[in-house]
Protein backbone atom coordinates (compact mmCIF):
# COMPACT_ATOMS: atom_id res chain seq x y z
CA UNK A 1 0.00 0.00 0.00
CA UNK A 2 1.31 3.37 -0.91
CA UNK A 3 1.97 5.94 1.91
CA UNK A 4 -0.13 9.01 1.20
CA UNK A 5 0.94 11.35 4.07
CA UNK A 6 3.73 13.91 3.91
CA UNK A 7 6.94 12.44 2.60
CA UNK A 8 10.11 12.73 4.67
CA UNK A 9 11.39 15.42 2.33
CA UNK A 10 8.13 17.36 2.54
CA UNK A 11 8.14 17.10 6.35
CA UNK A 12 11.56 18.71 6.47
CA UNK A 13 10.33 21.48 4.19
CA UNK A 14 7.31 21.99 6.46
CA UNK A 15 9.49 22.12 9.57
CA UNK A 16 11.80 24.61 7.87
CA UNK A 17 8.86 26.86 7.01
CA UNK A 18 7.62 26.69 10.63
CA UNK A 19 11.10 27.57 11.95
CA UNK A 20 11.44 30.51 9.59
CA UNK A 21 7.97 31.69 10.65
CA UNK A 22 8.91 31.43 14.34
CA UNK A 23 12.02 33.55 13.88
CA UNK A 24 9.73 36.44 12.92
CA UNK A 25 8.53 36.54 16.55
CA UNK A 26 11.99 36.53 18.13
CA UNK A 27 12.89 39.83 19.82
CA UNK A 28 15.04 42.08 17.72
CA UNK A 29 18.52 42.69 19.09
CA UNK A 30 20.16 41.44 22.25
CA UNK A 31 17.74 39.73 24.59
CA UNK A 32 18.50 39.60 28.30
CA UNK A 33 16.50 37.60 30.78
CA UNK A 34 16.46 38.82 34.36
CA UNK A 35 17.50 35.55 35.98
CA UNK A 36 20.56 35.23 33.75
CA UNK A 37 21.88 38.73 34.33
CA UNK A 38 25.26 39.01 35.98
CA UNK A 39 26.58 42.57 36.04
CA UNK A 40 30.35 42.57 36.34
CA UNK A 41 31.67 45.80 37.84
CA UNK A 42 35.39 46.30 37.44
CA UNK A 43 37.16 48.84 39.64
CA UNK A 44 40.24 49.93 37.70
CA UNK A 45 43.81 49.46 38.98
CA UNK A 46 44.54 48.44 42.62
CA UNK A 47 47.44 47.42 44.85
CA UNK A 48 50.73 48.95 43.74
CA UNK A 49 49.04 50.15 40.56
CA UNK A 50 47.54 53.40 41.81
CA UNK A 51 46.35 54.52 38.40
CA UNK A 52 46.29 58.27 37.87
CA UNK A 53 47.22 60.34 40.91
CA UNK A 54 45.54 63.72 41.33
CA UNK A 55 47.52 66.90 42.06
CA UNK A 56 46.31 66.65 45.67
CA UNK A 57 47.28 62.99 46.00
CA UNK A 58 43.91 61.29 45.48
CA UNK A 59 44.40 57.98 43.66
CA UNK A 60 42.37 56.52 40.83
CA UNK A 61 42.38 53.02 42.40
CA UNK A 62 40.78 54.37 45.58
CA UNK A 63 37.99 56.29 43.83
CA UNK A 64 37.26 53.47 41.37
CA UNK A 65 36.86 50.94 44.19
CA UNK A 66 34.48 53.25 46.05
CA UNK A 67 32.41 53.95 42.91
CA UNK A 68 32.23 50.24 42.04
CA UNK A 69 30.93 49.45 45.54
CA UNK A 70 28.31 52.19 45.28
CA UNK A 71 27.10 50.96 41.87
CA UNK A 72 26.88 47.40 43.18
CA UNK A 73 24.81 48.53 46.19
CA UNK A 74 22.43 50.48 43.96
CA UNK A 75 21.91 47.49 41.64
CA UNK A 76 21.49 45.10 44.58
CA UNK A 77 18.84 47.33 46.14
CA UNK A 78 17.15 48.72 43.05
CA UNK A 79 17.23 45.91 40.53
CA UNK A 80 18.15 42.77 42.38
CA UNK A 81 20.38 41.43 39.62
CA UNK A 82 23.38 39.36 40.44
CA UNK A 83 26.47 41.54 40.58
CA UNK A 84 30.12 40.64 40.64
CA UNK A 85 33.05 42.86 41.57
CA UNK A 86 36.42 42.02 40.01
CA UNK A 87 37.97 43.40 43.18
CA UNK A 88 36.41 44.40 46.48
CA UNK A 89 39.53 45.66 48.23
CA UNK A 90 42.83 47.34 47.46
CA UNK A 91 44.60 44.53 45.65
CA UNK A 92 46.45 44.07 42.37
CA UNK A 93 44.55 42.00 39.84
CA UNK A 94 45.93 41.62 36.34
CA UNK A 95 43.80 42.66 33.38
CA UNK A 96 43.80 39.08 32.08
CA UNK A 97 42.57 37.86 35.46
CA UNK A 98 39.74 40.40 35.42
CA UNK A 99 38.60 39.10 32.04
CA UNK A 100 38.85 35.53 33.24
CA UNK A 101 36.80 36.32 36.36
CA UNK A 102 34.10 37.99 34.27
CA UNK A 103 33.85 35.12 31.78
CA UNK A 104 34.04 32.36 34.38
CA UNK A 105 31.31 33.96 36.47
CA UNK A 106 29.02 33.99 33.42
CA UNK A 107 28.99 37.77 33.25
CA UNK A 108 26.38 39.27 30.93
CA UNK A 109 27.48 42.92 31.16
CA UNK A 110 30.91 44.33 31.99
CA UNK A 111 31.36 47.89 33.23
CA UNK A 112 34.92 48.96 33.94
CA UNK A 113 35.24 52.10 36.05
CA UNK A 114 38.34 54.27 35.63
CA UNK A 115 39.24 57.96 35.80
CA UNK A 116 40.88 60.09 33.13
CA UNK A 117 44.29 61.68 33.36
CA UNK A 118 45.85 64.26 31.03
CA UNK A 119 49.08 66.24 31.01
CA UNK A 120 47.04 69.45 31.16
CA UNK A 121 45.20 70.28 34.37
CA UNK A 122 42.54 72.35 32.62
CA UNK A 123 41.07 69.31 30.84
CA UNK A 124 38.06 67.83 32.59
CA UNK A 125 34.94 65.87 31.72
CA UNK A 126 33.60 62.36 31.17
CA UNK A 127 34.11 59.82 28.38
CA UNK A 128 32.95 56.34 27.35
CA UNK A 129 34.95 53.65 25.56
CA UNK A 130 34.32 50.31 23.87
CA UNK A 131 36.25 48.12 21.47
CA UNK A 132 35.39 48.18 17.78
CA UNK A 133 35.38 45.62 14.99
CA UNK A 134 38.29 47.46 13.39
CA UNK A 135 40.56 46.28 16.20
CA UNK A 136 39.20 42.74 16.24
CA UNK A 137 38.50 41.84 12.60
CA UNK A 138 40.26 38.64 11.54
CA UNK A 139 41.10 40.31 8.22
CA UNK A 140 43.32 42.91 9.82
CA UNK A 141 44.98 40.27 11.97
CA UNK A 142 45.82 38.18 8.93
CA UNK A 143 47.47 41.21 7.37
CA UNK A 144 49.79 41.34 10.33
CA UNK A 145 50.62 37.68 9.88
CA UNK A 146 49.09 36.81 13.26
CA UNK A 147 45.87 34.90 13.10
CA UNK A 148 43.53 36.21 15.77
CA UNK A 149 43.35 33.57 18.53
CA UNK A 150 39.95 32.24 19.52
CA UNK A 151 40.29 33.88 22.94
CA UNK A 152 40.57 37.29 21.29
CA UNK A 153 37.37 36.83 19.33
CA UNK A 154 35.03 36.72 22.35
CA UNK A 155 33.94 40.34 22.04
CA UNK A 156 33.11 40.19 18.32
CA UNK A 157 29.44 39.06 18.71
CA UNK A 158 28.87 41.76 21.36
CA UNK A 159 30.36 44.85 19.70
CA UNK A 160 27.01 46.29 18.63
CA UNK A 161 25.64 46.01 22.17
CA UNK A 162 28.84 47.33 23.71
CA UNK A 163 28.45 50.39 21.52
CA UNK A 164 24.81 50.72 22.53
CA UNK A 165 25.65 50.40 26.22
CA UNK A 166 28.34 53.08 25.84
CA UNK A 167 25.84 55.35 24.08
CA UNK A 168 23.19 54.77 26.78
CA UNK A 169 25.60 55.57 29.61
CA UNK A 170 26.84 58.57 27.67
CA UNK A 171 23.33 59.97 27.25
CA UNK A 172 22.69 59.63 30.98
CA UNK A 173 25.93 61.47 31.79
CA UNK A 174 25.14 64.24 29.29
CA UNK A 175 21.76 64.76 30.97
CA UNK A 176 22.98 64.52 34.55
CA UNK A 177 26.23 66.45 34.27
CA UNK A 178 25.41 69.37 31.96
CA UNK A 179 28.21 71.46 33.46
CA UNK A 180 30.91 68.93 32.66
CA UNK A 181 32.75 68.65 29.35
CA UNK A 182 31.53 65.80 27.19
CA UNK A 183 34.65 63.93 26.04
CA UNK A 184 32.48 61.63 23.91
CA UNK A 185 32.13 57.95 23.07
CA UNK A 186 35.18 56.36 21.46
CA UNK A 187 36.08 53.02 19.93
CA UNK A 188 39.56 52.18 21.17
CA UNK A 189 41.56 48.94 21.49
CA UNK A 190 41.17 48.51 25.25
CA UNK A 191 42.84 45.51 26.84
CA UNK A 192 41.40 42.96 27.71
CA UNK A 193 38.07 43.77 26.07
CA UNK A 194 38.73 41.50 23.07
CA UNK A 195 38.55 38.53 25.43
CA UNK A 196 35.29 39.49 27.14
CA UNK A 197 32.29 37.43 26.02
CA UNK A 198 29.69 40.04 26.95
CA UNK A 199 28.79 43.67 26.14
CA UNK A 200 31.59 45.70 27.72
CA UNK A 201 32.32 49.36 28.31
CA UNK A 202 34.96 51.40 30.09
CA UNK A 203 33.82 54.61 31.68
CA UNK A 204 35.94 57.54 32.78
CA UNK A 205 33.38 59.67 34.65
CA UNK A 206 35.83 62.42 35.63
CA UNK A 207 39.41 63.65 35.15
CA UNK A 208 41.54 63.17 38.24
CA UNK A 209 44.41 65.34 36.99
CA UNK A 210 42.06 68.33 37.07
CA UNK A 211 42.31 70.02 40.50
CA UNK A 212 38.66 71.03 40.17
CA UNK A 213 37.46 67.50 39.50
CA UNK A 214 39.79 66.03 42.10
CA UNK A 215 38.09 68.34 44.59
CA UNK A 216 34.68 67.11 43.47
CA UNK A 217 35.79 63.47 43.62
CA UNK A 218 36.66 63.95 47.29
CA UNK A 219 33.02 64.78 47.95
CA UNK A 220 30.60 62.02 48.87
CA UNK A 221 27.66 63.54 46.98
CA UNK A 222 29.61 63.81 43.68
CA UNK A 223 30.61 60.16 43.93
CA UNK A 224 27.00 59.25 44.65
CA UNK A 225 25.86 61.23 41.59
CA UNK A 226 28.35 59.34 39.40
CA UNK A 227 27.31 55.97 40.83
CA UNK A 228 23.65 56.85 40.29
CA UNK A 229 24.32 57.82 36.67
CA UNK A 230 26.15 54.52 36.01
CA UNK A 231 23.33 52.62 37.66
CA UNK A 232 20.74 54.44 35.57
CA UNK A 233 22.71 53.77 32.37
CA UNK A 234 22.83 50.05 33.17
CA UNK A 235 19.13 50.01 34.03
CA UNK A 236 18.16 51.71 30.77
CA UNK A 237 20.42 49.47 28.70
CA UNK A 238 18.97 46.29 30.20
CA UNK A 239 15.44 47.65 29.84
CA UNK A 240 16.00 48.31 26.13
CA UNK A 241 17.81 45.01 25.61
CA UNK A 242 15.23 42.62 27.03
CA UNK A 243 11.50 43.01 27.59
CA UNK A 244 10.48 42.68 31.21
CA UNK A 245 14.03 42.45 32.40
CA UNK A 246 13.78 45.53 34.58
CA UNK A 247 11.53 46.34 37.49
CA UNK A 248 9.66 49.51 36.61
Amino acid sequence: MRYTGLGIKNRYVFLLIVMVFMTMFLPDGYALSEQDLVIVIDAGHGGQDTGVVGPGGLTEKEVCLDLAGRVKSLIDKGLGYRTFLTRSRDEAISLTERSSLANNNRGTLYVSIHLSGFPDQTIQGFGLFYIDQAYLAPGSAEQTGNKLPLWDRQQIPHIKESRRMADTLHQVFVQRFPGQTDLGVHAVPIYPFATLGMPSVLIEPAVLTSPVQEGLLRQDNFREEIANAIYEGIRLFVKQAGSGAVHE
Binding site: H114, S116, F118, P119, Y135, P189, I190, Y191
Partner: protein, 196 residues
Protein backbone atom coordinates in the same frame (compact mmCIF):
# COMPACT_ATOMS: atom_id res chain seq x y z
CA UNK B 1 101.76 112.18 58.77
CA UNK B 2 98.36 110.47 58.92
CA UNK B 3 97.85 106.66 58.77
CA UNK B 4 96.31 106.91 55.26
CA UNK B 5 99.33 108.70 53.91
CA UNK B 6 101.74 105.91 54.83
CA UNK B 7 103.24 104.05 51.80
CA UNK B 8 102.34 100.61 53.28
CA UNK B 9 98.66 101.48 53.51
CA UNK B 10 98.53 102.84 49.97
CA UNK B 11 100.06 99.61 48.67
CA UNK B 12 97.49 97.54 50.56
CA UNK B 13 94.68 99.65 49.12
CA UNK B 14 96.04 99.21 45.59
CA UNK B 15 96.25 95.44 46.00
CA UNK B 16 92.67 95.31 47.36
CA UNK B 17 91.37 97.26 44.36
CA UNK B 18 93.26 94.99 41.96
CA UNK B 19 91.87 91.88 43.65
CA UNK B 20 88.34 93.28 43.40
CA UNK B 21 88.79 94.11 39.70
CA UNK B 22 90.13 90.63 38.99
CA UNK B 23 87.26 89.00 40.91
CA UNK B 24 84.70 91.07 39.01
CA UNK B 25 86.33 90.17 35.70
CA UNK B 26 86.27 86.50 36.67
CA UNK B 27 82.57 86.60 37.52
CA UNK B 28 81.84 88.46 34.28
CA UNK B 29 83.81 85.85 32.31
CA UNK B 30 81.89 82.97 33.93
CA UNK B 31 78.52 84.62 33.26
CA UNK B 32 79.45 85.22 29.63
CA UNK B 33 80.70 81.68 29.24
CA UNK B 34 77.39 80.35 30.58
CA UNK B 35 75.26 82.52 28.33
CA UNK B 36 77.24 81.54 25.24
CA UNK B 37 77.38 77.84 26.04
CA UNK B 38 75.33 75.74 23.63
CA UNK B 39 72.05 74.61 25.17
CA UNK B 40 72.23 70.99 26.22
CA UNK B 41 70.45 68.89 23.67
CA UNK B 42 67.81 66.72 25.27
CA UNK B 43 68.37 63.90 22.78
CA UNK B 44 70.50 61.91 25.22
CA UNK B 45 67.70 62.08 27.78
CA UNK B 46 65.23 60.33 25.51
CA UNK B 47 67.41 58.17 23.25
CA UNK B 48 69.32 55.30 24.83
CA UNK B 49 71.58 53.70 22.19
CA UNK B 50 73.68 56.82 22.00
CA UNK B 51 75.09 56.31 18.50
CA UNK B 52 74.65 59.41 16.37
CA UNK B 53 71.56 59.61 14.21
CA UNK B 54 72.93 62.42 12.05
CA UNK B 55 75.83 64.78 11.52
CA UNK B 56 75.46 68.54 11.66
CA UNK B 57 76.49 68.94 8.02
CA UNK B 58 73.56 66.89 6.76
CA UNK B 59 70.74 68.47 4.85
CA UNK B 60 67.60 69.16 6.88
CA UNK B 61 64.15 68.02 5.83
CA UNK B 62 60.73 69.07 7.10
CA UNK B 63 58.50 66.58 8.89
CA UNK B 64 55.15 66.76 10.66
CA UNK B 65 54.72 65.57 14.24
CA UNK B 66 51.32 64.78 15.69
CA UNK B 67 50.21 65.74 19.17
CA UNK B 68 46.72 66.03 20.68
CA UNK B 69 45.42 69.52 21.31
CA UNK B 70 43.38 70.51 24.35
CA UNK B 71 40.23 69.35 22.56
CA UNK B 72 41.89 65.92 22.38
CA UNK B 73 42.16 65.89 18.60
CA UNK B 74 45.51 65.13 16.95
CA UNK B 75 47.07 68.14 15.27
CA UNK B 76 50.19 68.36 13.14
CA UNK B 77 53.18 70.45 14.22
CA UNK B 78 55.94 71.21 11.76
CA UNK B 79 59.44 70.08 12.63
CA UNK B 80 62.81 69.51 11.00
CA UNK B 81 65.10 66.49 11.04
CA UNK B 82 68.46 65.75 9.48
CA UNK B 83 68.40 63.76 6.26
CA UNK B 84 70.37 60.81 7.61
CA UNK B 85 71.65 58.30 5.09
CA UNK B 86 69.75 55.48 6.76
CA UNK B 87 65.97 56.17 6.61
CA UNK B 88 65.56 54.32 9.92
CA UNK B 89 67.72 57.00 11.56
CA UNK B 90 65.26 59.60 10.25
CA UNK B 91 62.42 57.64 11.85
CA UNK B 92 64.38 57.48 15.11
CA UNK B 93 64.77 61.26 14.97
CA UNK B 94 61.00 61.64 14.64
CA UNK B 95 60.42 59.51 17.74
CA UNK B 96 63.09 61.47 19.64
CA UNK B 97 61.28 64.72 18.74
CA UNK B 98 57.97 63.17 19.77
CA UNK B 99 59.43 62.19 23.15
CA UNK B 100 60.76 65.71 23.65
CA UNK B 101 57.20 67.02 23.30
CA UNK B 102 55.46 69.74 21.32
CA UNK B 103 56.79 73.28 20.90
CA UNK B 104 53.31 74.76 20.92
CA UNK B 105 51.75 75.41 24.30
CA UNK B 106 48.38 74.44 22.82
CA UNK B 107 49.45 70.87 22.20
CA UNK B 108 49.90 68.11 24.78
CA UNK B 109 53.00 65.96 25.29
CA UNK B 110 52.15 62.35 24.51
CA UNK B 111 54.59 60.39 26.63
CA UNK B 112 55.55 61.18 30.22
CA UNK B 113 59.07 62.15 31.25
CA UNK B 114 61.44 59.32 32.01
CA UNK B 115 60.54 57.27 28.95
CA UNK B 116 63.36 56.64 26.48
CA UNK B 117 63.64 55.05 23.07
CA UNK B 118 65.75 51.92 23.54
CA UNK B 119 65.68 50.81 19.93
CA UNK B 120 63.82 51.15 16.70
CA UNK B 121 63.60 48.64 13.88
CA UNK B 122 61.82 48.57 10.55
CA UNK B 123 60.86 45.17 9.22
CA UNK B 124 58.42 44.32 6.46
CA UNK B 125 56.57 47.64 6.72
CA UNK B 126 56.24 47.46 10.49
CA UNK B 127 58.06 49.95 12.73
CA UNK B 128 59.09 48.28 15.98
CA UNK B 129 59.59 50.72 18.84
CA UNK B 130 61.20 49.57 22.05
CA UNK B 131 60.63 52.02 24.90
CA UNK B 132 62.50 52.03 28.17
CA UNK B 133 59.92 52.54 30.89
CA UNK B 134 60.81 52.88 34.59
CA UNK B 135 60.00 49.67 36.48
CA UNK B 136 58.19 51.59 39.20
CA UNK B 137 55.92 53.37 36.76
CA UNK B 138 52.32 54.04 37.63
CA UNK B 139 49.66 54.84 35.07
CA UNK B 140 50.28 58.52 34.41
CA UNK B 141 47.31 58.86 32.09
CA UNK B 142 43.83 57.54 31.54
CA UNK B 143 42.53 55.34 28.75
CA UNK B 144 41.79 58.24 26.40
CA UNK B 145 45.18 59.92 26.73
CA UNK B 146 46.93 56.58 26.34
CA UNK B 147 45.01 55.98 23.12
CA UNK B 148 45.99 59.43 21.85
CA UNK B 149 49.65 58.70 22.68
CA UNK B 150 49.58 55.52 20.58
CA UNK B 151 47.76 57.35 17.77
CA UNK B 152 50.33 60.19 17.85
CA UNK B 153 53.20 57.72 17.42
CA UNK B 154 51.36 55.95 14.62
CA UNK B 155 50.49 59.14 12.73
CA UNK B 156 53.94 60.72 13.14
CA UNK B 157 55.56 57.66 11.56
CA UNK B 158 53.03 56.66 8.91
CA UNK B 159 52.39 60.19 7.61
CA UNK B 160 56.10 61.00 7.23
CA UNK B 161 57.38 57.65 5.97
CA UNK B 162 55.37 55.79 3.31
CA UNK B 163 57.44 52.67 4.00
CA UNK B 164 55.88 52.45 7.48
CA UNK B 165 52.52 50.70 7.32
CA UNK B 166 52.02 49.73 10.94
CA UNK B 167 53.55 50.19 14.35
CA UNK B 168 54.41 47.72 17.08
CA UNK B 169 55.46 48.85 20.56
CA UNK B 170 57.41 46.75 23.04
CA UNK B 171 58.48 47.88 26.51
CA UNK B 172 61.88 47.30 28.11
CA UNK B 173 62.81 44.87 25.35
CA UNK B 174 59.80 42.64 25.98
CA UNK B 175 56.29 42.11 24.69
CA UNK B 176 53.71 43.98 26.75
CA UNK B 177 49.93 43.75 26.97
CA UNK B 178 49.33 47.48 27.32
CA UNK B 179 51.15 50.76 26.94
CA UNK B 180 50.18 52.15 30.38
CA UNK B 181 47.45 49.82 31.59
CA UNK B 182 44.69 50.40 29.04
CA UNK B 183 45.56 50.21 25.35
CA UNK B 184 46.25 46.81 23.80
CA UNK B 185 49.71 46.79 22.20
CA UNK B 186 50.08 43.02 21.75
CA UNK B 187 49.67 43.33 17.99
CA UNK B 188 50.91 45.94 15.54
CA UNK B 189 48.44 48.76 15.01
CA UNK B 190 47.73 50.93 12.00
CA UNK B 191 44.14 52.13 12.11
CA UNK B 192 43.99 54.26 15.25
CA UNK B 193 41.83 57.26 14.47
CA UNK B 194 43.07 60.76 15.15
CA UNK B 195 40.16 61.67 17.41
CA UNK B 196 39.46 58.26 18.94
Amino acid sequence: MSEQGKPGFRFLRLVSVLVLILAAAGVLYLVMQKSHAPKKDKVESVYMPGFPLYTEDMERIPIELFFPDKNLVLKGENGVIYKSTDPVDRMRQVIVLLLKGPRSEFLLPVLPEGIMLREFYLHDGCAYLDFQVPASRVSPMGCFMEYLAAASIQESLIRNFPEVEKVKIVLNGMEAETLFGHIDIRSPFQGLKAGG
